[in-house]
């Protein structure tokens, strides 16, 4: 992981981008999450008793915010936040650098979501405590990627997995990080999207050069009976500058009970949620649907990250 910045922060373990992690480091986090998962199922611990987590969400969030909150509290710690942006110093014009400098005096770690890309990286340069990136614009969302990997490892097989990633592959920030991380596990990646929502060419070029097996298609039928994992994404209205373009592609690749007749018995269906109409409600009760478990796994994975940056010292020196 480690984005180590200069000077006194040499040993500070920030979580900024999945690209900062090696496969070994990711495996250590996933292993730790597996150890902590029983606590996430309704248990409690004093691992982070007396520790304070600050959550700074400059953009709306439900799952990420609540699961960090739950993770911290399951481990015995407490959470502070600045409530709504409107009621905070941000609304008075305070810049992010100053906010971080101030809040890092109040907490032992900071979870940050911000609309500007690179905000978390910059914040790490002004913070005296670890920064955990909870999404920066269309940029990185590393804890989502880690919980996605954890889900695949638990519910399928991570090494050499055959995965179809479907939907908005251009604007969806979870996709780029996930594709990169899967390349570390020798995955066979099939990218399924309308032409106007394909992943950026720079990403596919990078991965092809690294030897990752990767295909692109507009037709889900080409891979639907072949893959182990189908990862669906919401086509996000707010990412489209042109509402007509949104309407044209919305509703593509909808999964129904009928679709499931053609898939492998052990296929798992994942989705970062919230869904719009990508997955029919009838699919929820099938053995293939793991998206609510995936959402739950955000808690043990974030418990692992919090414990490693604050509690047990495993991230403090010498890597994760």
């Amino acid at each position: 992981m480690l984005n180590r910045t200069a000077g006194l922060r040499d040993v500070m373990p920030h979580v900024i981008s999945i690209r900062d992690f090696s496969r070994d480091e990711i495996d250590r986090i996933l292993d730790r999450a597996a150890e902590l998962e029983p606590i996430a199922h309704g248990g409690s611990s004093d691992l982070l008793a007396g520790r304070i987590l600050a959550t700074l969400f400059h953009e709306p969030s439900t799952r990420t915010r609540l699961s960090f909150d739950a993770a911290m509290k399951r481990l015995g710690g407490s959470v502070i936040d600045f409530g709504s942006i409107e009621g905070s110093a941000v609304s008075k014009g305070e810049n992010l650098a100053d906010t971080i400098a101030v809040v890092s005096g109040y907490a032992d770690a900071i979870v940050l979501r911000h609309p500007k890309e690179g905000a978390a990286r910059m914040a790490s340069e002004f913070s005296r405590v670890p920064i955990i990136n909870a999404g920066d614009g269309a940029g990185q969302h590393p804890t989502q990627t880690l919980l996605d990997l954890y889900t695949i490892r638990k519910e399928s097989t991570l090494d050499r997995v055959k995965i179809a990633i479907v939907g908005d592959l251009k604007y969806g920030r979870t996709v780029h990080s996930l594709v990169y991380a899967l390349s570390l596990y020798n995955a066979e990646i099939h990218l399924v999207s309308p032409d106007q929502l394909k992943v950026p060419e720079s990403l596919t070029n990078d991965l092809s050069e690294s030897g990752t097996r990767i295909t692109e298609t507009t037709d889900l039928d080409e891979v639907i009976d072949y893959v182990d994992v189908m990862y669906l994404t919401r086509i996000q209205k707010e990412r489209f500058p042109d509402p007509n373009e949104y309407r044209t592609v919305a509703g593509s690749y909808r999964i129904t009970e009928e679709t499931l007749k053609r898939v492998k018995d052990d296929l798992i269906i994942m989705h970062p949620l919230p869904r719009v109409d990508e997955i029919d409600y009838g699919v929820d009760s099938s053995r293939h649907a793991v998206y609510f478990k995936q959402s739950f796994y955000g808690v043990p994975v974030r418990m692992a990250i919090l414990s490693m940056v604050m509690g047990d010292g495993t991230a403090a020196t010498g890597g994760w």
Partner: protein, 150 residues
Amino acid sequence: MKRELRVRRIKNGTVIDHIAAGHALNVLRILGIADGSTEVVSVVMNVSDQKKDIVKIEDWELAPDEVDKIALISPDAIINIIRDYEVVEKRKVVLPSQIVGVVRCMNPNCITNTDEPVKPRFVIRRGEGVELHCVYCGRVITDQIAEFLI
């Protein structure tokens, strides 16, 4: 036949030769030579036979870390340090591994394009050409780097 000089020789200072044609003014921008600068500077653009530009800066010996940034837009530029009309040092510019505060990020949503107290920083890689990777947002500038000079 004696060659005719377009710009007179300088006694002391720096001559930057073999600048890619048309980029002399960008070189001045990179070096921070702009309105208000006091240096005596001569610029020759589009030297006809070699398709290059030349910049002569009097009484200022540029240090390597100052001039290597020129390699971003003109990787074949040659730096000549002049003392008492003689060339005492001659070397090619070397592409630095990182640059700070020279080029702005092309991503309008990058944190460096806000009022935050952070300078744009890029890691430089050589692919087919020069690639600038924004340390903050990850966006890569490959073409027309000169357009993004600060």
